[in-house]
């Protein structure tokens, strides 16, 4: 099932939480929804899950509009809300049974589905406990189980790994990856590594608008631009080194990072590399290189550049 978001706008009072956002998610895709806190991720996901109605715009899930056919859409999505609300006073099995009934799963299939979910989400040891007695990680698993119990085509997960320990994070990511092979998954996060590890496509949203739409590789490429090198040179006076480096044609700019250690940051002109020229210059002047590291922009930096202003 495809999801088409068209000109979605949602206001809370005078503030626009989501401002004219449009995008499309193809069936079978795993989409990562990124953005700083308060960017509009949760609002967009709530609208997709038919919990809130946007003032303007529409979301089509498999061709059905959230305004006209929310009941059909709700049957086809599994939704894990941001802070994972659950009935704390129920035990896991009763709770899953209730959710299964609400989804209209035939009675004879319910025990099988519940067992299946308990196994998939690793809840075997805890299945008779009350939800309120579970640790946060296990509650998150129950949240995933309730989202998956009716075998939905689309899974919407709002920050599925918050509050989990590193092992659990890896487990949940593996689970999402496995699910993502068959289903459309939209997951939000503000942890870039997580999105990079699990998603086919990344959508960065800031102040209610989409700022980036692409794969992690594309994103890197787009933001990388010119070659940046961190260079340490010894064997001469820093001013002389600076001057002789400045004579290299492919170098665009040189910054001195550390005067004592004689460290420079060198930016080359677009589509050129200065590594060999630097080496040659040093040899000619009897300098020696203490350090030469290409500086690669991390996704974190790209994220910061795109979402700060």
């Amino acid at each position: 099932m495809d999801i088409v978001v068209e000109h979605l706008t949602k206001r809370y009072g005078p503030q626009k939480a989501v401002d004219n956002v449009s995008f499309r998610v193809k069936a079978g895709e795993v989409l990562g929804f990124l953005g700083p806190n308060g960017a509009g991720k949760t609002t967009t996901m709530k609208a997709m899950a038919c919990f809130i109605k946007p003032e303007e715009g529409d979301i089509l899930v498999g061709g059905y509009s959230i305004h006209d056919h929310p009941e059909i859409i709700k049957k086809n999505i599994g939704y894990l809300a941001e802070n994972n609300p659950l009935y704390q006073e129920m035990n896991i099995i009763d709770f899953l049974e209730f959710i299964a009934k609400i989804h209209g799963i035939p009675k004879y299939l319910i025990p099988e589905r519940i067992l299946d979910m308990i196994r998939t989400c690793g809840l075997e040891g805890e299945k008779h406990k009350l939800i309120g007695e579970l640790s946060k990680g296990y509650q998150q698993r129950v949240g995933l189980a309730q989202a998956l119990i009716h075998d939905p085509d689309i899974l919407i997960l709002d920050e599925p790994t918050t509050g989990l320990d590193p092992n659990q994070i890896v487990e949940i990511r593996e689970l999402i990856k496995r699910i993502g092979k068959e289903k459309t998954v939209i997951l939000s996060s503000h942890i870039l590594a997580e999105v990079e590890a699990t998603c086919d496509r990344i959508l960065i949203i800031n102040n209610g608008r989409i700022v980036v739409d692409g794969t992690a590789a594309e994103l890197r490429k787009q933001a990388q631009g010119n070659e940046i090198l961190k260079l340490g040179v010894q064997g001469g006076d820093i001013d002389h080194i600076f001057e002789s480096l400045f004579e290299i044609e492919t170098i665009d700019s040189i910054d001195i990072i550390d005067v004592d250690k004689q460290l420079f940051e060198i930016q080359s002109l677009p589509n050129t590399t200065s590594v060999k020229a630097i080496f040659d210059t040093c040899v000619r002047n009897n300098y020696y290189i203490t350090e030469l590291t290409p500086t690669e922009k991390k996704l974190e930096d790209i994220f910061r550049i795109l979402t700060l202003h």
Binding site: C50, F51, I52, A81, P85, Y87, Q88, I102, Q146
Partner: protein, 239 residues
């Protein structure tokens, strides 16, 4: 319809799991039993084989109990965030409201059920007006429906359960007593208007054993108005 039953049965089991239901039933039966059989204007003091005392006690205690039962219905779900869980499942706003309504009504019916013993006891000791007693129960259920729907409305308006309970009580007290007091202070059209608004007028006429469509219209229109308004408030949520 199935969704309504699923929601209602879950809600009902929550009432029993959290002991709310047991506390309610014990207090209700204790109160009504005490005043019907032991103390004050009890059956033996009145010397008539009717359950008027019981109905009066029930009329007042349900008025006080129901807001405590309904206060968490929507406000509690909203506070715990589970409203989002429920409404992103294939459940419409109407189904949720009706489910909540039905669960509380069922609980009231369960609390009333043991008092049928009073009726049989009375039957054994004197000639009873069967239809009056039967209609007394119908009246109690109708009245409960009104207060449950008012409680649901209050629970939709207020985001805090305590405020929801107080709001339900203060709306309820108009129908319970204030309109009645006003009716006795006015004459003519205004007086009869207030008298029509007062719940006790309609409750009394039913528990006397007279079913008038006017009374039924009163009860059902109030219930419908409150549930409809609740649904509208729920649908216009901006969370």
């Amino acid at each position: 319809m199935k969704q309504i039953l699923h929601i209602a049965s879950r809600e009902l089991s929550t009432f029993f799991d959290s002991l709310t239901a047991y506390v309610l039933i014990v207090i209700f039966l204790g109160f009504s039993g005490f005043f019907t059989w032991i103390y004050g204007a009890d059956v033996f003091f009145v010397g008539q084989a009717n359950l008027n005392t019981f109905f009066t006690v029930a009329y007042w205690s349900l008025f006080i109990f129901i807001p405590a039962l309904t206060m968490r219905s929507i406000a509690g779900e909203l506070k715990a965030g589970t409203l989002e869980l429920l409404l992103t499942k294939p459940v419409s706003d109407w189904q949720l409201i009706f489910g909540k309504f039905l669960s509380t009504l069922l609980l009231i019916a369960i609390a009333l059920a043991p008092t049928v013993i009073y009726y049989f006891t009375l039957w054994a000791i004197g000639p009873v007006d069967h239809s009056a007693i039967l209609l007394g129960y119908v009246g109690l259920l109708l009245m409960s429906m009104v207060y449950i729907s008012i409680g649901l409305l209050a629970s939709c308006i207020a985001s805090n359960p305590i405020i929801a309970s107080l709001a339900a009580l203060s709306i309820g007290i108009f129908f319970h007593i204030i309109f009645d007091v006003l009716a006795s202070n006015f004459v003519g059209l205004i007086g009869s208007f207030f008298s029509y608004l007062s719940l006790s007028t309609h409750f009394e006429s039913i528990s006397r054993g007279v079913v008038d469509t006017k009374d039924l219209i009163y009860f059902f229109s109030l219930v419908f108005f409150c549930l409809f308004t609740s649904k509208m408030i729920l649908s216009n949520r901006n969370l």
